[in-house]
Symmetry: C2
Subunit: 240 residues, 2 copies
DNA sequence: CGCCAGGTTGATTTCGCTCAAGCAATGTGG
DNA sequence: CCACATTGCTTGAGCGAAATCAACCTGGCG
C-alpha cells in the first residue's frame, strides 16, 4: 500500500519523489502536510491550457508528469515559445509572488498531471519558512540567466547554430541512446514551435533540417529524430 | 547644512532621495543607519570597470549618479550590452544573493558615483527585514520580464524596428524636448554597443541610421540625436 | 468525402553580413 | 610641432542567408 503511493507521484506530496529536486525540499514534514492537504492534482489533455496571458494569478502549479510549454505573444500576434517545463518544475510562480496578472500562457504539450497550490497557501508557507522564498529567488535567477544567454545567442549565432543548440537541449531531455551509439529523440513540440524558439520562419527551419540530413548529421521523420553521432553536433557549435 | 546634505546624494543614505525609488525604501530608520554606516561611496571615471565576469561577488552596488552598462561575453568573444543602469538602480544583486561568481561585467558609462554595500551587511539586513528580500524578488522579476520581451522582439522584428524601439527607450531616459516639439537625445553609448543591443553588426546599424535620416525621422550627429517628430517613431513600430 | 493544420519545396526578393577602404578625432612618442 | 598609430564611424561592393509568396503534399478528423 505504501509502496503503491510512492510509485504514484501526484497522489501525495509527502511521498512525491519529485519534491527532492525542486523548491519544496526545504519544507519541514509538518509544512509538507499542509501542502499536501491544500494541493489539487488534475490531468490535462494534450494542448489543454493551464493558464492564459492576462488572467489573474490564482496560485502556482507543480508538474508531476508530462510537459508544458510557456508561450508569449507580442503585439503583432506572433507567438513565441519561451520555455518547456518538466516534472518537478514549478510553474507560474512569477505572477503569483507579485500578485500580478499572467504575462504569458502555459499549455500542456501532451497528457500531463499537474498539481495546483492556492495563492494563500504559498504565502502562508513562505511566511512560516523563509528558505522557501530564497528557493524561488534561486529559481528565478536561473531563469534570468537562461534568458540572457539566449539573448546573446540570438544576437550572434546563425539560425543553423541556434537550431543545433536547441536540438542538443532537447536531446538531453528526450533522447534515448540506441545500440549503435546514436541518439533517438521524440520531439515534444511542432516544427513551428521550434522555429519560433530560434526566431526563424517555419519554412527556414524546414530547409535547415533538410541540410542537416544532407550533411548526415541527423535523420528527421515526423517528431522522431535520430542523431547519428552526437559528438558531431557538439563539434558543429564550436565554429560560428 | 542639512539642505546641503540633502542636495548631495551618496553622502548619506538617510537623506538620499533615490532611496525612495528603489529596494531600500522598505527599511526602517534604524536599518538605514546600519546601511549608511556600512556603505562606501566612490567615484568612477568613464569606462572604469565596476566588476568583471568571473570574479566573486563581494557585495552589491547602488547607482548614485551617472550610468553603468552590463555586458555579457559569449564563447566566441562577442560582447553584448544587456542593460543600462541609472541612479537609484541596484547593481549586482544576482550573484550576491546566490553567493555565485559574477556572470557579467559592469562598467561606468560616464563619470559616476556608486555606493558599495558589503555582502555581510546585505545578508544581515535581509534577515532583519524580510520585506527587503521580496523587493529584490520583485526587481529580478521585472528584469526577467524585460529579457523575455527582448527575446520575442529579437525573434520577430527587423533590425530597423528593433533599433527604433531602442531609440524610444533611450529617448525616455535621455531625451530633452526642444522648443519646436522635437526631442534631442544625448546617447550614453557608442554605436557599436547599440548595434550589439539589437543583435546587428555596427556597419548595419550605420546604414539603418542613414536610412532613418533619409526618411526624415531623425538626424544623427556624433552622440547627439534629434528626433523630428517623436510621434512618427511611435507610428513606425506599429507596422512590421 | 472534403476540409484543415502541419509540413515540405520552389522561385524570387530583401535583408543583413563580410570584407575592404577611407575618414575624422584623439592620443602618443620623438 | 609633426609623424604615426588607434579608435569609432561611414560607405561601397558582393554574396549568402533568410523572408516572402506560393503551390503542393500528407495525415487526421468531422
Amino acid at each position: 500500500m505504501v509502496e503503491q503511493r510512492q510509485a504514484m507521484p501526484g497522489a501525495n506530496c509527502l511521498e512525491c519523489q519529485l519534491r527532492q529536486r525542486n523548491e519544496w525540499h526545504v519544507l519541514t514534514e509538518k509544512e509538507i502536510k499542509l501542502l499536501a492537504q491544500a494541493r489539487k492534482s488534475r490531468r490535462y489533455r494534450a494542448g489543454e491550457a493551464i493558464f492564459t496571458a492576462g488572467e489573474p494569478s490564482y496560485g502556482i502549479y507543480c508538474m508531476v508528469s508530462g510537459a508544458a510549454a510557456m508561450r508569449q505573444v507580442d503585439a503583432e500576434g506572433n507567438t513565441v515559445l519561451i520555455q518547456i517545463s518538466y516534472p518537478g518544475d514549478t510553474l507560474g510562480y512569477r505572477g503569483l509572488l507579485l500578485g500580478e496578472r499572467r504575462r504569458f500562457s502555459a499549455e500542456a504539450l501532451g497528457p500531463s498531471r499537474i498539481c495546483f497550490i492556492d495563492q494563500q497557501v504559498v504565502k502562508m508557507l513562505m511566511e512560516r519558512n523563509p528558505a522557501l522564498g530564497l528557493q524561488f529567488l534561486r529559481r528565478i535567477n536561473n531563469d534570468l540567466d537562461d534568458a540572457h544567454n539566449k539573448l546573446v545567442q540570438n544576437a550572434t549565432l546563425s539560425n543553423r547554430s541556434k537550431f543545433v543548440h536547441l536540438l542538443l537541449n532537447l536531446m538531453n531531455r528526450h533522447g534515448h541512446p540506441a545500440p549503435d551509439g546514436s541518439q533517438v529523440i521524440n520531439l515534444p513540440i511542432s516544427r513551428r514551435d521550434m522555429a519560433s524558439m530560434i526566431g526563424a520562419r517555419h519554412e527556414t527551419l524546414s530547409r535547415i533540417i533538410g541540410r542537416l540530413e544532407e550533411d548526415g548529421v541527423a535523420r528527421f521523420s515526423g517528431r522522431t529524430v535520430c542523431v547519428n553521432r552526437p559528438h558531431s553536433l557538439m563539434e558543429e557549435i564550436r565554429f560560428s
